[in-house]
């Protein structure tokens, strides 16, 4: 049995007081405890940005890599050792701009990892510039006349890629979020969770209170079927007075790690080198 203390890290936290990241951290720990996985069986790959500091504040394996490159590193880890529980974590800048191409192709591959994107609609660590999810007209140091481009809708993108698990959480609903993360961890395939989050330092519009008034659990509507792509597309476009959170879309298709015959029986990392078979391949060239 594991408990919350097993995931305790004494690394001093460098987030702003009141940041939504604190409750995401607690939700993540709770999901790990509920999953039953031990710290050494879990790897978090993070990018660069405030969200990407997350693995330091937990006790589990961590690879804090480059801005936007979480998913390929996580994919390499999962293919080398699919017995590990692998997560990727970063912010909206990390995942939806620099990492956009990797995001698309991780969904295509349906690699069995859980991807958490802390979406505060702003670049936090570089001090408040417009991000790919900032609203049209958002004024910042890099967009003094207001952002000319509309925000990217990550849920629509994910559904259009037939991503096998598409969800949205809110940092202000940590119990709900912990439940979503646990479902993501248990889903065999690529689980994508966009986490709405307030930024106390730079986003004056989408505050904790702003979200708190608007979000509702998708499960409140019993007729909603997350396996219906048409419904999912419509739900993913709901924004404004009411903002849905929960599992927006899901389907079952085999994950990449299930397809590679080389790892059907044993993870790559546990396989010895077969000298005799290598002698054989040299013979092919004679």
């Amino acid at each position: 049995m594991v408990n919350l203390d097993d995931f305790y890290s004494d690394d001093p936290v460098a987030w702003c007081p009141g940041c939504g990241n604190y409750s995401i951290l607690e939700a993540l720990k709770q999901a790990f405890v509920n999953s039953g996985r031990k710290p050494h069986e879990i790897v978090i790959v993070s990018g660069i940005g405030q969200a990407s500091k997350m693995p330091h504040y937990l006790r589990c394996n961590a690879f804090n890599g480059l801005h936007g490159r979480t998913l390929p590193v996580a994919t390499g880890i999962k293919l080398a050792n699919h017995e590990l529980t692998v997560l990727a974590e970063g912010g909206d800048g990390d995942g939806y701009t620099e990492g956009g191409n990797h995001f698309i192709h991780a969904m295509r591959r349906n690699i069995d990892i859980t991807y958490l994107v802390h979406n505060n609609k702003v670049y936090g660590l570089t001090k408040g510039q417009a991000s790919p999810t900032s609203d049209l007209g958002y004024v910042s140091g890099t967009t003094p006349m207001g952002s000319f481009s509309p925000p990217l809708n990550p849920l629509l993108l994910a559904i259009s890629m037939d991503c096998t698990f598409v969800a949205r959480g809110f940092s202000g609903e940590p119990v709900h979020l912990a439940g979503l993360i646990l479902e993501g961890l248990q889903h065999r395939g690529f689980s994508f969770i966009d986490i709405l989050q307030n930024c106390v330092s730079f986003n004056r519009v989408n505050t904790y209170q702003w979200y708190k008034k608007r979000v509702y659990d998708i499960k409140d509507d019993p007729s909603y079927d997350p396996r219906d792509m048409g419904m999912a597309f419509r739900k993913a476009q709901e924004w404004g007075e009411k903002i849905p959170i929960g599992i927006i879309y899901r389907n079952d298709r085999p994950s990449l790690d299930e397809k590679h015959p080389a790892i059907r029986n044993l993870p790559l990392v546990k396989q010895e080198i077969d000298r005799a078979s290598l002698e054989g391949i040299i013979e092919f060239f004679r």
């Binding site: 031990k38 804090n64 490159r69 590193v73 080398a80 990797h102 990392v269 077969d274 078979s277 060239f285």
Partner: protein
């Protein structure tokens, strides 16, 4: 009589020249000879002017010759563009249907190739098999062994294809026997069939070397001339437990490699200069996180798209300096397929032992050319994975620090999930435990720790291979794929009265200790020979090696050096 004969097959892309080159190479390799086959092709799938050149020798051969003895011209373009390389006595085989060419030279041999192909029951496109039959008849080869090899090579394509091509070869062979009125004294008597030697490209040798070194994971994005490495490894995937994952771009490729390596398996990627541009960020990540990674950079002429299907040694400075910040790495450039095979084990061992990125430089000339090799011995490959803590050898209670201080700069690795320890790796500057730090003291310590590895790596770098006599008149210095041409040029120069030696560097960076090399006297004139425009290695030689270069021979037209290219340039310089 010594055999050294070259056949050039020229024509349009899509006429099967590469297959013919491979087929001829196998025939001669299996009947007592050594073969070197290289290609000169345009960046297109159909058309253009292209050739494949097959050089057959009765001793090991590692480069092409500028001398062509038989030209098989499969189209009008080849007749016009390749004929100038021929001497009057050299043979040109071409189809009679090509109008507007007349010659009373009996060595210019029109053959009704398409017509014979159709009469033999084949299709017009099998006229290249007619040409093979004709060329081999001129060379005095026996027919039966050729047909046997044909059966072997075409077997996978089905009985009907075997039969038709066989008949086309017989028809071309017979046509020469009854119609050729000239004399062609150059003969290649086939020795009895023996399947002892190997015939493979530089790319295949690199891929095989990697597989025999325990490669488990490969990710890459196709880019000439590296793609054949990926394709060959992918073909091994199912049977030999290697995962080959096609990446969305080279950035993803190297990051996947780093992930797989962090998780505990040997991993590599291959690309060319343009793709490596995208990998540079990941190269720094491997350096900072101290994650082993092997990267093959098969060079082609740049910058930018450059000449996609041609050769150059233009990326040495780039790979040595790639990425911001300061961290250790090593760079190798094997000179032929055999050296390429064994260099891969060294690359993987050094990557694991020093926990750094390692680059193996190839180029189009090395990667695409076929070599006959006496043997490759996987038994000679020793796998050294460096310092690793496993569940068996770990001490309890577990207090693991990924970047623990050590005089050597090398901290033991733990693979996540393989022990109860947790591992933190970080691209930020980090503490010994792997957490982000801003401390000036820790920063300084970590930079020193990483750079300590350089001296350890330098001790592993082999000095150049020395060929030729002591105290020479001339010394040719080179690296990578020019190896074969350099040695042959030295032989020619020595035969002509200039005692010439060669230093060929495979281990390039960190620059090896050259203290062990034979002393060079003042009278020796030193030539640096490089397939680039600025002498990238020559600068290292004079800078780090303190070897003063007298003459520089550079070639940057996208084509490889032949021995005579070097000999002529040496004479011009003297």
């Amino acid at each position: 009589m010594a055999v050294d004969i070259t056949i050039r097959i020229g024509g349009l892309a899509g006429q099967g020249m590469q297959f013919i080159g491979m087929l001829l190479g196998k025939i001669f390799t299996r009947h007592g000879y050594y073969v070197f086959t290289h290609q000169d092709v345009e960046s297109r799938i159909r058309g253009g002017h292209n050739f494949v050149q097959v050089r057959i020798k009765d001793e090991p051969v590692f480069c092409h010759s500028q001398k062509v003895d038989i030209l098989i011209a499969l189209d009008r373009g080849s007749m016009d563009l390749d004929q100038p390389v021929l001497e009057p006595d050299d043979i040109m085989i071409f189809d009679v249907k090509e109008k507007g060419f007349t010659s009373d030279n009996p060595a210019r041999l029109p053959i009704p190739m398409e017509q014979l192909a159709v009469e033999a029951g084949g299709m017009k496109i099998m006229f290249n098999s007619v040409a093979i039959g004709a060329a081999l008849a001129l060379l005095g080869c026996d027919l039966q062994p050729i047909l046997d090899r044909l059966d072997e090579e075409f077997a996978a394509r089905g009985q009907e294809t075997v039969e038709k091509n066989r008949n086309c070869v017989i028809s071309g062979y017979g046509y020469i026997k009854s119609n050729f009125k000239g004399t062609f004294p150059k003969k290649i008597p086939l020795a009895p069939y023996k399947k002892d030697k190997l015939f493979m490209t530089g790319s295949q040798a690199m891929a095989l070397g990697a597989a025999c070194s325990g490669l488990k994971f490969y990710s890459g994005y196709p880019m000439s001339p590296s793609t054949t490495i990926m394709e060959y490894l992918a073909s091994l995937g199912r049977k030999h437990s290697i995962i080959v994952e096609p990446a969305e771009d080279e950035i993803a490729a190297i990051n996947m490699v780093i992930g797989a390596s962090f998780a505990g398996v040997r991993a590599m990627t291959a690309t060319s200069g343009g793709g490596f541009c995208l990998m540079v960020e990941g190269m720094g990540l491997a350096g900072m996180t101290e994650t082993p990674a092997v990267i093959v950079v098969a060079q082609r002429p740049g910058p930018s798209t450059g000449l996609p299907t041609r050769t150059e040694q233009g990326d040495l400075d780039f790979v040595i300096h790639a990425s911001h910040g300061e961290f250790p790495r090593s760079v190798f450039a094997p000179g032929n397929a055999e050296q390429a095979f064994y260099t891969m084990q060294k690359a993987f061992n050094l990557a694991d032992r020093f926990q750094t990125p390692v680059i193996v430089l190839g180029d189009q000339y090395l990667n695409d050319s076929y070599f006959t090799l006496d043997n490759l011995d996987p038994g000679r490959i020793k796998i050294d994975r460096g310092k690793i803590i496993s569940a068996e050898n770990m001490s309890y209670p577990v207090e693991y620090k990924r970047y623990e201080w050590d005089e050597s700069g090398i901290s033991p690795r733990i693979f996540p999930g393989q022990t109860e320890a947790v591992v933190y790796a970080d691209s930020d500057e980090h503490t010994e435990a792997g957490h982000i730090t801003e401390s000036a003291t820790v920063r300084k310590g970590m930079v020193v720790k990483r750079l300590r590895k350089v001296e350890g790596i330098r001790k592993e770098m082999d000095p150049p291979k020395v060929n030729g006599e002591r105290d020479p008149d001339l010394l040719l210095v080179g690296w990578g794929s020019t190896c074969g041409a350099l040695k042959e040029a030295a032989d020619i120069l020595t035969r002509n009265g200039l005692k010439t030696a060669v230093w060929h560097f495979c281990d390039l960076f960190p620059f090896p200790d050259t203290g062990l090399l034979p002393q060079i006297s003042k009278k020796t004139r030193i030539f640096s020979v490089e397939n680039n425009a600025t002498g990238q290695f020559a600068r290292t030689l004079s800078g780090q090696g303190r070897i003063m270069i007298d003459h520089r021979i550079f070639k940057f037209d996208g084509r490889p050096f032949s021995p005579w290219d070097i000999v002529n340039r040496v004479h011009r310089a003297l």
